[in-house]
């Protein structure tokens, strides 16, 4: 469902971009972008840009909800993300007002570019929110899994003392610890690195910084699922 919504949003965004381009290049304004545009074309362009800003403001409201609901988010990351979302909401609201008062096609086009390049809501802010929440969940899971491993080790020792064959349980526990360490290593410092990325006009440069973090979070998730499966296997090995 989310994919459908995103697909629709992308399609709308693409159409809007084309519409802004058409609106801004139509009529006399095309010859001189700084000259006052024909009333119809300028109004149409302003409507399109305003709608694009509104879409970003709605996304930021959704991020606020996600941040509020993220129980394992560290206080530092919560503070950074809350500040970022509040700042972007404030900036985009001001830009929306500015668009409404523009009198030239060039000014509306500049506002449209500012809306994208100065904020990067979809390309950068969304991954910052989602992936930081995910990375902090993974950090919490690593801590829980390490505690679990210590308790399972004690259970194995007790079973061994009672004469039980614990060979498989020990092997599963070793793998559990290894997977947990791999997850910890994968996400170390990734959220902070992502939060430090600044918006800008170079979309490819932003993508090249976001993609490794996204991959690390996904890799860590796989490791953590394996570690949890190992923990359950140890329990089964011990007949618990």
């Amino acid at each position: 469902m989310k994919h459908l919504i995103r697909l629709a949003a992308t399609a709308v965004a693409a159409c809007c971009a084309v519409a802004v381009g058409l609106a801004l290049t139509a009529g006399p304004a095309a010859a001189d972008p700084s000259a006052p545009a024909a009333a119809g074309g300028l109004d149409a362009a302003k409507k399109v840009v305003t709608a694009r800003i509104d879409g970003r403001l709605a996304a930021l409201r959704a991020f606020d909800v996600a941040i509020g609901a993220a129980k394992r988010l560290s206080s530092g990351h919560r503070s950074t993300l809350t500040g970022l979302v509040a700042s972007d909401r404030s900036g985009l609201a001001a830009l929306r007002t500015k668009v409404a008062g523009e009198t030239t096609a060039a000014a509306v086009k500049a506002d449209d570019q500012s809306m994208v390049n100065d904020y990067r809501i979809y390309l950068l802010v969304e991954p910052k929110v989602r992936l930081t929440i995910a990375a902090d969940l993974e950090t919490a899971a690593v801590a829980e899994l390490r505690e679990t491993a210590d308790k399972l080790a004690a259970a194995i020792a007790a079973a061994k003392q009672n004469g039980k064959d614990t060979t498989k349980a020990e092997a599963d526990l070793a793998d559990m610890r290894s997977q947990t360490d791999a997850a910890d290593h994968a996400i170390a410092g990734k959220a902070d690195a992502l939060l430090a990325v600044a918006p800008g006009p170079d979309a490819d440069a932003i993508k090249s910084q976001v993609t490794p973090v996204r991959q690390a979070v996904r890799d860590a998730r796989t490791d953590l699922h394996r570690a949890l499966a190992d923990a359950k296997a140890v329990k089964a090995d011990l007949g618990k």
Binding site: K2, H3, R6, L7, T10, A13, A14, A66, A70, R72, V116, R120, Y122, L123, E126, P127, R130, L131, I133, A134, L137, E138, A140, A141, E144, L145, E147, T148, K151, L152, A154, A155, A203, R214, V217, R218, R221, L224, H225, L228, A231, K232, K235, L238, G239, K240
Partner: protein
């Protein structure tokens, strides 16, 4: 005088007989009321004892029981469910997403 004394004694004897009779009657009724109550009391006691023994045997026979790691395992299960939801929310942006 002797006749008066004889009447008093006769009345006293009559009262004694009547009182004894009433007492026996009361005892009999009490006994009758108490008797049926005894079996249910015994039955309840027996039932409770049976339940307790059943629970104890079940736990001991299977040998199952929570380990001290169980709360952590449940907690990690919950964390990973939240994580899956979060990672799925971060859908790969489309090529032209800005």
């Amino acid at each position: 005088m002797k006749r008066t004394m004889a009447k008093v004694l006769a009345v006293g004897a009559l009262c004694a007989v009547l009182l004894t009779g009433c007492g026996r009657g009361t005892d009999r009724r009490a006994g009758h009321d108490t008797s049926p109550a005894t079996p249910p009391a015994t039955s309840t006691t027996t039932g409770t004892a049976g339940g307790g023994a059943g629970t104890g045997t079940g736990g001991g026979t299977t040998g199952t029981g929570p380990t001290s790691a169980d709360p952590q395992i449940s907690s990690v299960d919950g964390l990973l469910t939240d994580l899956d939801n979060q990672v799925n929310s971060d859908s790969q942006p489309a090529q032209d997403a800005d």
